[in-house]
Amino acid sequence: MTTATDMNASSADSYVTADGRTIGGVVMDLKNITLRFGGVVAIKDISFDIREGEIRAIIGPNGAGKSSMLNVISGFYKPQEGEVWFRGSKRPPMKPYQVARQGLARTFQNIALFDGMTVLDNIMTGRLNHMKANMFQQAIWKGKAEREEIANREICEKVIDFLEIQHIRKTPVGRLPYGLKKRVELARALAAQPSLLLLDEPMAGMNVEEKEDMSRFILDMNDEFGTTIALIEHDMGVVMDLSDRVVVMDYGKKIGDGTPDEVRNNQDVIDAYLGVAHD
C-alpha cells in the first residue's frame, strides 16, 4: 500500500484519503457562479472546486439548484456571472458536445436512453466522440471504419463486463426494468472514458439492493479507472458513505462545503434539512 509521504511528493496539492486513494489537484473550479432564469435566481454566487480522483457530492433540499449546477458544469446552462475553470484554463461558453469532447460525461435524472436500440448500441453511442471515420469511410466500411468499430467495441465490452450487464447486451433498452436502465445509462457515460463524470441522482427510485450495487459500481469505477465523480443524491446514507467532500445548497446558495463529517455537524445544513422558524 502506498503511504501518504510518497504520494505527496508527486504534487503539492494532492493528499491520500484514509482508504488509500490519492486525491490530486483541482480539475474543475467554479468561481462565483450566478444563474438566473428571468427574475428567478437559481444559483447565487456559488464557488467550489472538484479535485482529481475524488467523489464530490452536491446535496440540498428540493429546488435548491443542484441540477442547475450540474447543467452549468456540463455546459448546458450558461451562467450570467462567474467563471468555470477546467484543468487550469478558463472555459469559454461552449456547446454541450464541445464540453463532452473535453472529457465530461453525465447521466440524467430522468433516464435519457434510446428505447428502441439495444443496450450495446446505446453504450456505443457513448463512443461517438471518439470515432473519426467520415460518412464515406463508414459506407465503404472496410478499413478505417471497421478498425475503429472494433477498437471502440472492445472498450464498450469492458464497460459491460465491469457493470455486469452481459445478459442484456442484445436486449432493447425499452424492455428493461428501471434499475437496469440506470445502469445502462451509467455504462454509456463510462464508455466515453470521461475524466469527470457527472451523475444526476444515480440512485433515485431504487430499492436497497440496487442502491448497494450502484454504490459498489461507483466506488469501483473511481478506484479502478480513477474517474473523478460529481454526483447529486438524496439518500444521505449513500452520500455520507461514498463521497470525499460534500457541497450543500439551499435556495441557490451554498450553505456548507467539506467532508461528510464536517457537513453533518454544520448548523446551517441541519437547519436546511430539518427546517427552522423564519422570523
Partner: protein
C-alpha cells in the same frame, strides 16, 4: 474410440491425460470461455502451458504433497486449470459451492485443512477472509478476477496471473521437482475431494482416486460413444461430482472441448451459441425451459400456435422416438453420391411439405377467422398438407416428421440450444413424464441416469433405444448391483469412492469390506426389461399407522409434474393419513393470473388466492387417483393440504444447495402447520423467519387456508369412518 486411446498406453492420472491431449490434440480447442462478448479459446497445448505455469507458481509458494487446495468460483477455464495444476504438484483439489454462505464454507475449509484457497472474485475472497478469523491454517489466497481487490492487504493474497508469471520465471529451478511429483501419481493416489451436499447433517468429504475418475470416464465415454468432437457447456456447480466427471474426467479422457458461459445469467444465450453435443441438466432446468416454451407459445400467433400443437401431438405419439433420434455414430467419412442424393431428397421433401403446410393452413386460418373472429384459436386446428396423402403408413409418418422438423422441431431445438445434442442426461430427481416425452419427441436423445458422489456419478444409465421415464436404466459398465431384503440398493464398481475424509466411522457404515456401498435408496428391478426403478430414499420410506407403505417422494414427484407446483412435501409417517405442503410455481401461476385478470402483489398473496387453491386441489385429487392405482402405495393419498406462504429456500436451510428438500428442518420449522393439518383446523396462523441473500433476516406472517382433498378407493370408506 476408447479402445484406441487405451492402446496408447496407460494413463494413471489426470495430468498424464493432459500431457497426452497436449501431444495428440495439441491444436484442437480444449477450453472456450465467453469474455468481453467473444468466445475466447485455448487449445490443449495452450491449456497445458497455462496449467504448468500455475503448477510451478504453486510450487514456488511452497505447496506440499497431499495439501488440499480449495477452489471456489463459477465455471471458468482458469478454475479447471487450477484443479489440474494442484494435481500436478501432488496436491488435492477441493472445489466448493460458490453460493455457500460463510458458515457452510467455514465448516468445509476447516474440515479439509486447506492451506491454499483459489477464489474467483472479490465476493469469494471476502468470504474466505471472514473465515480466516477462525480457520487459521489458510496460508495463501489466490484470486482470478482482480476487480475491487486492489486495496486489499496482499501479504498473503495473490493474483492468479502473478502466480503464473512467478511459475514461468521459476521454470528452470522447479521443473524437476514438478516432474518428480507428477511421476509419483498413481492410479490409487487421490484425484479430488468433493463434499456431499449434506441432505442429512454435515457435508462429508468424499475422496476419489484417479482410478475412480478415469475408469468411470473411460467406461461411460465408451458407453455413449463420446469422442474428441464433442462440445459441452460447463455451467453446473464445480463442487458437484457431475461437473467434475463431465467437464474434467470425460473431457480429459476424450479430449473434447469444455465451454464456459460468460456469466450465470447468460447461460441460456451461451447454450444457444455453443449448441453442445453432450449435455447434462437436472430435471428442474428442463422443466423451466418447457414452462417458458409453453408460455411463449400462448403469446404467439394463431398459425404458429396451431402448427406447434399439431406437430407436437404427432411427435408425442411415438413418431419422435421412431424417426427423430440422432444417429449414434458421427461418421467423418465423405458421403457417397447415393447418400448425398438421399439426404438431398429427404431435405427437399421436408421443405416442400413444410411450404405446403404453411400455405394451406394459412388459407384455412383465413376462413376460420371470418367465421369465429377473435375466438379462432379455440376452433382452428392445423392439418397435414394434401400432398402427404400420396403416402401411406410409415412413409407418411416419416415425411410428416421431416416436415415438422423443418417447421417446428428444428427451430425450437435451435432456440433452446439443443440443435446438435447427441446425448443428453438428466438425473438427481425424477423427471415428469410429460417433460421427458416433450424433449424426446422433438428428437433430443434425453436419457436418465442414477448415481451419487460416492460412486463417481454412474450407477445405472439408460442405453440408447431403451429409454423410459419411470426407470433409471441398467447398471453402467463395470457396476455390479444388488438389493437388500428391505429393497435398499447396493453397488460395487471401479468408481466406488476411497473413503470419507477423516471420518472412518461413516466410511465403515457406508462401504463394507467387500466394497459394496449402500445407496440409501430403495428400489426394485423392473421384471419386463431388467431396468432399475427407484421408489424413494430408503429411510424416508416408512410405515403409516396402520402398517401400509409410506413413500413420500413418490407422491411428491407426481405432484411436481404439474407445472403449477414447484415443490411439495408430503407427511404421513406413523400417522393415519397423508397430508402435504405445496409451493406453487410463480412463473406458471403468475402467467395464469395475468391471463385471468387476477391481481396479486406477491408470492404470498397469489399462494393464498382461492382460485389458485381450487386449481391445486384439482391437481392433488388427480394425483390421488393415480396413486390409488398402485396397490402397494394406495395409502399415500393426500387427505389434506395447504399452500405455503413462502418458497422453500436454501438460504433458510429448508433445502440443500442442490435444491433437495430437508424434510426434518421443514417438519420442525412448520410444526404448527402440521398440527393444524392433522388437527382438522380449516386455517392456521404462522410467522416464519426468512434470510435474505445478503444474510439479513426478516419475518413473514400469514394465515393459511387448509383444504380437504377427495380420495379414491378403499381410502374413501376409511376416511368416512
Amino acid at each position: 474410440m476408447s479402445q484406441e486411446l487405451a492402446a496408447q498406453g496407460d494413463f494413471a492420472s489426470v495430468p498424464a491425460l493432459l500431457a497426452r491431449n497436449a501431444k495428440t490434440y495439441g491444436n484442437r480447442p480444449a477450453y472456450r470461455e465467453k469474455e468481453f462478448g467473444i468466445w475466447q479459446s485455448w487449445t490443449w497445448a495452450e491449456a497445458a502451458e497455462e496449467i504448468e505455469n500455475l503448477a510451478l507458481g504453486l510450487l514456488a509458494l511452497g505447496i506440499d504433497r497431499g495439501d488440499h487446495v480449495a477452489i471456489i468460483g463459477r465455471n471458468r477455464p482458469a478454475h479447471y486449470w487450477a484443479m489440474v495444476a494442484a494435481q500436478k504438484v501432488g496436491a488435492v483439489p477441493v472445489p466448493l459451492y460458490q453460493d455457500a454462505v460463510v458458515e457452510e464454507m467455514e465448516y468445509v475449509l476447516d474440515h479439509c485443512g486447506a492451506r491454499f484457497v483459489i477464489c474467483g472474485d472479490q465476493e469469494q475472497v471476502d468470504k474466505v477472509i471472514e473465515v480466516q478469523e477462525s480457520v487459521k491454517h489458510i496460508e495463501h489466497v489466490i484470486y482470478y478476477d482482480k476487480r475491487g481487490l486492489r486495496k486489499y492487504d496482499h501479504s498473503h493474497l495473490h493474483w492468479y496471473h502473478d502466480i503464473q508469471e512467478e511459475g514461468r520465471v521459476a521454470h528452470a529451478r522447479l521443473e524437476d521437482e514438478m516432474a518428480k511429483r507428477e511421476a509419483e501419481l498413481s492410479y490409487d493416489s487421490t484425484c479430488v475431494m468433493l463434499y456431499t451436499s449434506g441432505t442429512t447433517g454435515r457435508p462429508k468429504g468424499v475422496v476419489l482416486s484417479n482410478r475412480n475418475i478415469i475408469e468411470s470416464a473411460k467406461n461411460t465415454s465408451g458407453f455413449d460413444n463420446l469422442g474428441v468432437n464433442e462440445d459441452i457447456l460447463a455451467y453446473l456447480p464445480m463442487a458437484w461430482v457431475g461437473d467434475f466427471i463431465f467437464s474434467l474426467g470425460q473431457a480429459m479422457w476424450c479430449g473434447f472441448c469444455v465451454n464456459c458461459p460468460e456469466s450465470p445469467e447468460t447461460m441460456m444465450t451461451d447454450l444457444r451459441e455453443i449448441g453442445p453435443t453432450y449435455y447434462f441438466a437436472p430435471p428442474r432446468v428442463f422443466e423451466t425451459q418447457l414452462t417458458n416454451v409453453m408460455i411463449r407459445m400462448e403469446d404467439s400467433g394463431d398459425l404458429k400456435y396451431a402448427l406447434f400443437h399439431h406437430f407436437m401431438d404427432f411427435a408425442k405419439k411415438g413418431a419422435g422416438e421412431k424417426y427423430g433420434m440422432p444417429r449414434r455414430k458421427v461418421t467423418t467419412q465423405k458421403k457417397t453420391l447415393e447418400q448425398k442424393l438421399r439426404h438431398g431428397f429427404r431435405y427437399a421433401m421436408g421443405v416442400g411439405f413444410a411450404t405446403e403446410t404453411v400455405i394451406e393452413n394459412l388459407i384455412r386460418l383465413g376462413f376460420a377467422k371470418l367465421r369465429h373472429g377473435k375466438d379462432v384459436r379455440k376452433h382452428f386446428k392445423a392439418k397435414d398438407p394434401i400432398g402427404l396423402k400420396l403416402y401411406r403408413g410409415n412413409a407418411h409418418d416419416y415425411f410428416k416428421y421431416r416436415c415438422g422438423d423443418v417447421l417446428v422441431y428444428g427451430p425450437l431445438k435451435d432456440t433452446l440450444g439443443f440443435g446438435r445434442i447427441r446425448v443428453g442426461y438428466t438425473a438427481g430427481e425424477a423427471i415428469g413424464p410429460e417433460i421427458f416425452e416433450f424433449y424426446r419427441s422433438m428428437g433430443i436423445n434425453l436419457k436418465q441416469l442414477y448415481g451419487q458422489t460416492e460412486a463417481t456419478v454412474f450407477i445405472t444409465v439408460q442405453p440408447d433405444g431403451e429409454v423410459r421415464n419411470d426407470t433409471v436404466g441398467v447398471p453402467a459398465p463395470g457396476v455390479e448391483l444388488k438389493l437388500s431384503d428391505t429393497g435398499e440398493i447396493f453397488y460395487r464398481s471401479p468408481g466406488t469412492f476411497v473413503e470419507y475424509y477423516n471420518n472412518p466411522e461413516s466410511t465403515a457404515d457406508t462401504k463394507d469390506p467387500e466394497g459394496w456401498v449402500a445407496t440409501g435408496d430403495a428400489g426394485f428391478f423392473d421384471k419386463s426389461n431388467g431396468h432399475l426403478r427407484i421408489i424413494d430414499r430408503a429411510k424416508d420410506v416408512g410405515k403409516m399407522a396402520d402398517g401400509r407403505l409410506f413413500a413420500p417422494k413418490y407422491v411428491e414427484n407426481k405432484l411436481k409434474f404439474y407445472p403449477d407446483i414447484l415443490e411439495a412435501v408430503v407427511f404421513g409417517n406413523n400417522r393415519d393419513m397423508c397430508t402435504a405442503f405445496i409451493n406453487i410455481d410463480l412463473t406458471a401461476v403468475g402467467n395464469w393470473a395475468e391471463r385471468n385478470n387476477v391481481a396479486y402483489a406477491s408470492y404470498q398473496e397469489l399462494a393464498g388466492h382461492p382460485q389458485v387453491l381450487d386449481t391445486i386441489q384439482e391437481h392433488v385429487e388427480a394425483v390421488n387417483k393415480s396413486v390409488s392405482e398402485d396397490e402397494m402405495l394406495s395409502g399415500c393419498q393426500i387427505h389434506r393440504f395447504l399452500i405455503l406462504h413462502k418458497e422453500l429456500d436454501a438460504d433458510d436451510g429448508e433445502m440443500t444447495r442442490t435444491r433437495k428438500v430437508r424434510r426434518k428442518i421443514v417438519e420442525e420449522k412448520y410444526a404448527p402447520l402440521i398440527d393444524a393439518l392433522y388437527g382438522g383446523k380449516s386455517e392456521q396462523f404462522i410467522e416464519t423467519e426468512v434470510t435474505y441473500e445478503d444474510g439479513r433476516k426478516g419475518s413473514i406472517k400469514a394465515t393459511l387456508d387448509i383444504r380437504d382433498a377427495a380420495v379414491v378407493g378403499k381410502e374413501q370408506g376409511m376416511a368416512a369412518e
